[in-house]
């Protein structure tokens, strides 16, 4: 198998709060003969797409990153974070479809020597890469472990699906890319009605009550439908759903906690890459469930545990 080479933009949070997402993905991609080259000079994506018609300045960050990706000579730019994916794709669509804004944006590109017209780089999310370029079957060939009767709740959140033009699934109202991925890897996923609902997003900064309420609704729905774990690919969904569970538990008698993991963590465990995970980064510890299902060793001490 030849090596697939693409540019990679991690974004801010994968280097800090979401380390598990980055380390497990990069090891997994190595295993799949994908070479993800981090751009030497990427910019903040802005995290949330600016919706005001005249707010062109907020598009400069993502567009500068796309210019760097074009300059790298590689055709594709891999992103893992859902918020990076959303802002990069939407900024790209804007430049592609709006000539007036494209020229305005280009006027701000003082240091960039390359023009960008919107379609020279393909922004590809990890899920799309796995589905369309690597193929779920090829991924399955690399897996060593059996997930047994593990049941996961595949949680999409908003940024991978809305708006429709940039969705990672052809049916954003009723997506199946995550469930299809798990099915191909022999992992059962449960349907739960909150899988495409919002976690409260950046309201986590000053409207904690909103996020408490969202986390309660989403996690309770996953538990009620029989899930052992919630699996996501968005670092902000991950944070809200994981870190808020103690707060939800305080206010909700009988609340059952459920661990939250990145999709790449599960895949890495199935591929036998246990050492790539730092379980201390979880608020709700996934180790008891993972041990019970045979995904981590009964007595193996994972990074940092039991010190």
């Amino acid at each position: 198998m030849s090596v697939l080479e693409l540019s990679y933009m991690p974004g801010c949070t994968l280097k800090t709060k979401a380390k598990n997402f980055e380390t497990t993905t990069l090891r997994l991609l190595e295993l799949l003969d994908v070479q993800a080259e981090e751009l030497p000079d990427w910019y903040c994506c802005g995290t949330t797409y600016s919706l005001a018609s005249d707010n062109v300045i907020n598009q400069l960050g993502p567009i500068r990153t796309l210019v760097k990706a074009k300059e790298s000579g590689r055709e594709e730019l891999l992103v893992l974070c859902s918020m990076c994916y959303n802002t990069l794709r939407r900024a790209q669509e804007l430049v592609r479809s709006d000539e007036e804004k494209r020229s305005k944006i280009n006027e701000f590109m003082y240091d960039e020597e390359t023009d960008f017209s919107g379609d020279e780089v393909r922004v590809v999310h990890l899920l799309t890469l796995l589905k369309e370029e690597i193929g779920f079957e090829a991924l399955k060939q690399k897996l060593l472990k059996d997930a047994g009767d593990l049941k996961v709740a595949a949680y999409y959140g908003c940024m991978l699906l809305r708006p429709r033009e940039i969705a990672v699934d052809p049916v954003p109202e009723h997506p199946s890319i995550l469930e299809d991925l798990f099915a191909a890897c022999g992992v059962e996923s449960v349907y739960f009605p909150f899988r495409t609902e919002c976690c409260g997003s950046y309201q986590t900064v000053n409207e904690k009550q909103v996020v408490i309420s969202r986390t309660r609704a989403i996690t309770e729905s996953a538990v009620k439908n029989g899930a052992d774990l919630i699996v996501t690919s968005c670092p902000l969904c991950y944070y809200n759903l994981d870190a808020y569970q103690p707060k939800v538990a305080e206010a909700t008698p009988g609340f059952r906690r459920i661990p939250v993991m990145y999709v790449s963590q599960i895949l890495a465990l199935l591929a036998g890459l246990e050492e790539t995970q730092d379980f201390n980064l979880h608020v709700v510890d996934p180790r008891p469930v993972l041990r019970e299902k045979g995904l981590i060793g009964k007595d193996a001490v994972a990074a940092g545990e039991g010190e």
Partner: protein
């Protein structure tokens, strides 16, 4: 709630600004309420998202600007994708926030955020919050 309708309100500059900043056809909404039904923040709102667009239609922009609702939007786009009339309400919410923020008013100020939150919260949450709630 009593609303005084007037020709001036309907033709006001503020209403035009909302239309231009959001690039939405404000009159397209027929008040079905689907946006309010799907909104993840609704329980914390003082008025419903569908009421906000009704106010905007009727030129009652100042009322909308004083509501807490516009600051509870998480830009999740659920209202936009469900609207049978193709209205992007998230853009109207953004336009309304911009009218306040462009008076150099902060809805959130970095000084208001606790040290604990600054250490704990992922950067994407902080950056997004500042993007939406600071001038």
């Amino acid at each position: 709630m009593k609303i005084q309708l007037s020709r001036q309100a309907l033709l006001s500059e503020l209403r035009e600004q909302v239309r231009d900043l959001s690039e939405q056809n404000l009159l397209a909404c027929y008040q079905c309420g689907k946006c309010s039904a799907g909104c993840p923040s609704i329980e914390a709102m003082d008025v419903m998202p569908s009421q906000i667009i009704r106010w905007v239609q009727l030129g009652q922009i100042e009322k909308a600007l004083k509501s807490k609702t516009i600051w509870l939007c998480a830009a999740c786009q659920t209202c936009k994708v469900r609207c049978p009339r193709g209205v992007d309400l998230a853009r109207i919410m953004e336009a309304l926030r911009q009218l306040v923020l462009r008076e150099n008013l902060h809805y959130v100020h970095p000084n208001m955020i606790s040290k604990e939150d600054l250490e704990e919260l992922p950067q994407i949450a902080l950056v997004a919050n500042f993007r939406k709630f600071t001038p």
